[in-house]
């Protein structure tokens, strides 16, 4: 009998790449003042992809000044005309979707299946959605106040969803009439630079969008710049706290979308096979580099063994490897730094007495990879139960009653998302009401829509992105 094994199915499209990327300031590509560049590498094979400009304080200053000029023109445009530009960005993203997907997977290591089916279409969807709001902002605001843009927005995005996070921030800012200085993550600048090309292609007035690549110091220069009216940051809680301190008293508006340690709560009456899919989706999506990942699994004690058994079987079918292979489920870890962090936390889990279960699979010889993993025998005091691992590692704990589930789920400094799995509708609703998290998914996980606000409680940040609530973060009420 013939064995049915999947042949390699690599995505063959190669994006147009430059050897060296400058900074996109005032509608033009410019060299960095210090003439410093940094390499961006492919985490799947550790090879260099391109050189990217390192933006200094002086470059940030140029970008903010350009944005101020851009803002004057942009905010004076008729809202319906702004809508046309934003719509054009959305359309161009759609047209260049395949190239953007490959670029995202090359630079960040995520499977092409995800960048193709999630990141890129969701990014376009955010621009489409917000294009529609541009000339209807009065209806987004209660009480007949007149909504006005804020001014120059500094936007700092993380490396886990580079294009999508840029879209989440840029689309509402532009629709509301603001100008933007975007600082992409150090390890994943390429799709933001492609987005800058798209902005140029869409013929936005110069300075409305500026992209300054660099590292944490570049981001700090943007946060500290006196010409910035608002900072929007997605990233770690640690950096978020620093930003909150440095913007305090400056009059700058601030939204923070930070870490998470979401509880995914499985009741005994849950649709079990689908719940297992939800667990997989919750923790192994994007190698677990997801701030709203369902990284703490709380299972009703009576079904613990069954869930563990099913999950053990399920992770055997996950295909780890080349991010550009269309059948890859688990791609590369974004960077060596992140891989080391995951390894360190997993090590602590073993040290503290939890039981590690891993998918048996061969890891590629080069590149940063970590197999799909979970821990049983986890206690709430373990580091792996409290700290954000930001990798494909799940911590499984049990509960006996709904009250205990809630108590354990909320016992975290974070509060970004949560999941609940139960067949009984009233139980779903009761649990959802009592979970202190910005998003609660019932019998599903990681579902997003531009019309649905996203954001956290407690140390997961404040402010909302998406939907009507997200518009408020980019408007002042005159």
């Amino acid at each position: 009998m013939t064995a049915f094994t999947y042949a390699p199915a690599p995505e063959r499209v190669r994006p147009r790449l430059r050897e060296r990327y400058g900074l996109f300031i005032g509608g033009r590509w410019t060299a960095p003042e210090d003439d410093r560049f940094m390499e961006t590498i492919n985490p799947a094979d550790e090879t260099r992809i391109a050189d990217v400009a390192y933006g200094s304080t002086a470059d940030v200053d140029r970008a903010v000044r350009a944005a101020r000029k851009g803002y004057e023109r942009w905010s004076a445009l008729k809202p319906a005309d702004r809508a046309k530009y934003v719509y054009r960005i959305a359309r161009t993203i759609t047209e260049r979707s395949r190239e953007l997907a490959v670029l995202e997977s090359l630079d960040g290591g995520k499977p092409i299946r995800e960048s193709r089916d999630f990141d890129v279409p969701a990014s376009a969807a955010h621009f489409f959605y917000h294009a529609g709001w541009a000339d209807k902002l009065e209806w987004a605001i209660r009480g007949g106040a007149s909504p006005q843009p804020i001014g120059v927005c500094g936007q700092i995005v993380p490396w886990n969803f580079p294009l999508l996070m840029a879209a989440w921030k840029m689309a509402p800012a532009l629709a509301c009439g603001n100008a933007v200085v975007l600082k992409p993550a150090e390890t994943t600048p390429l799709t933001a630079l492609a987005l800058a090309e798209i902005i140029a292609q869409a013929d936005l007035p110069p300075g409305v969008v500026n992209v300054v690549t660099g590292d944490g110091a570049t981001g700090a220069a943007l946060v500290d710049h006196a010409g910035v009216d608002k900072i929007a940051f997605t990233g770690s809680t640690e950096v978020g706290k620093r930003i909150a301190r440095s913007t305090a008293g400056s009059g700058k508006r601030l939204t923070l979308e930070l870490g998470g340690k979401a509880a995914n709560v499985i009741f005994a009456d849950a649709p079990m096979d689908q719940a297992v899919e939800g667990i997989v989706q919750g923790i192994y999506f994007n190698q677990g580099h997801v701030c709203c990942a369902g990284s703490r699994l709380l299972v009703e004690e009576s079904v613990h063994d069954e869930v563990v058994d099913r999950l053990t079987n399920r992770i055997r079918t996950l295909r780890l490897g080349d991010p550009l292979d269309k059948n890859t489920d688990i791609g590369a870890i974004n960077s060596r730094v992140q891989l080391d962090k995951i390894r360190e936390l997993v090590h602590s889990g073993i040290e503290q007495g939890a039981t590690l279960v891993q998918a048996e699979c061969e890891l590629p010889a080069r590149g940063f990879f970590f197999p799909a993993s979970f821990f049983t025998n986890v206690h709430p005091s373990h580091r792996i139960a409290r700290e954000e691992i930001f990798g494909p590692v799940l911590s499984i704990m049990t509960f006996r009653t709904p009250d205990e589930a809630i108590e354990k789920a909320n016992n975290t400094p974070y509060g970004l998302s949560a999941g609940v799995w139960a067949a009984e509708g009233s139980k779903n609703m009761w649990v959802a009401q009592h979970l202190r998290a910005g998003v609660v998914w019932c019998n599903t996980f990681n579902k997003f829509d531009p019309s649905s606000p996203f954001g956290g409680y407690k140390e997961s940040g404040f402010g909302r992105e998406g939907g009507v609530h997200g518009l408020h973060e980019y408007l002042t009420l005159a």
Binding site: M1, T2, A3, F4, T5, Y6, A7, A9, R113, D117, D269, A270, P271, M272, D273, Q274, A275, E277, G278, T317, K326, N327, A423, N443, T444
Partner: protein, 295 residues
Amino acid sequence: MSATLVRVDAVMLEARAAELAKRSIKTSAKLAGIDIAIRCTDLTTLEGKDSEGRVRSLCAKARMPRPGWSGIPSVAAVCVYPNLVAVAKEALGGSGVKIASVATAFPSGLVDLDVKLADTAQAIAAGADEIDMVIDRGALLAGRDRLVADEIAAIKRLCGDVHLKVILETGELGSYEMTRRASDLALEAGADFIKSSTGKVGTNATFPTALLMCEALRDFYRKTGQRRGLKLAGGIRTTKQALTYLVIVNETLGNAWLQPDLFRLGASSLLDDLLMQFEKERTGHYAGADYIPKD
């Protein structure tokens, strides 16, 4: 007899099926998949206008789907109405291709049990190796699980070593939960195979339904250690669909299930597309439909 209720949520079931449908099956995997799909095909004709001549030509195709091309296996079985079993038996003699017969008042199943038994007995007497029976969907929907299970058990007793495939007709069951319930019930009652559809109603085999039935078979195997089979039927016309079904089986039940003893695709026109795609994969260009013999 009453199977424990297994909860099924449509949203995530369909999401998982859609994810599996996105597997990219190319080159050597595609050739292997086509080979398996042909070996697992129940080449079917179930029309009111079926005749002896039609069945004979179908049998010739079942033995040797494309004379002149090397490396094309025979299909698993030919599937016909009971009164054409004898004709198929004669035409397939010595080929190893099995004869499957629908029975139990296919496709509705709305006659008394003694008539169903007689129908089945006739097909077996005429030489059927496999029986494709239908369940009483009306009884199942009315909550009369016991009656449905007893009928399956009675037909299975009559069948003995003859392979019994139990058609759930999922397109009439109204919900995924009911499909899961019917699957569990049929397996507990002794079905050798569970089969999705008759091909006679609006909704036939679908990817989520196939996934759900695979889950039932997997759970049954894990509980009892017994491997039972899956047959998908109705509306399966393209190689792409067939390959997706193989993916669903492969990733839910495992490679061990991808053989005619445990997996069948009930179809009539699918074989032509499998042949065309096989030749395309081998030679790099498509053979026109006119190069594929019509049955």
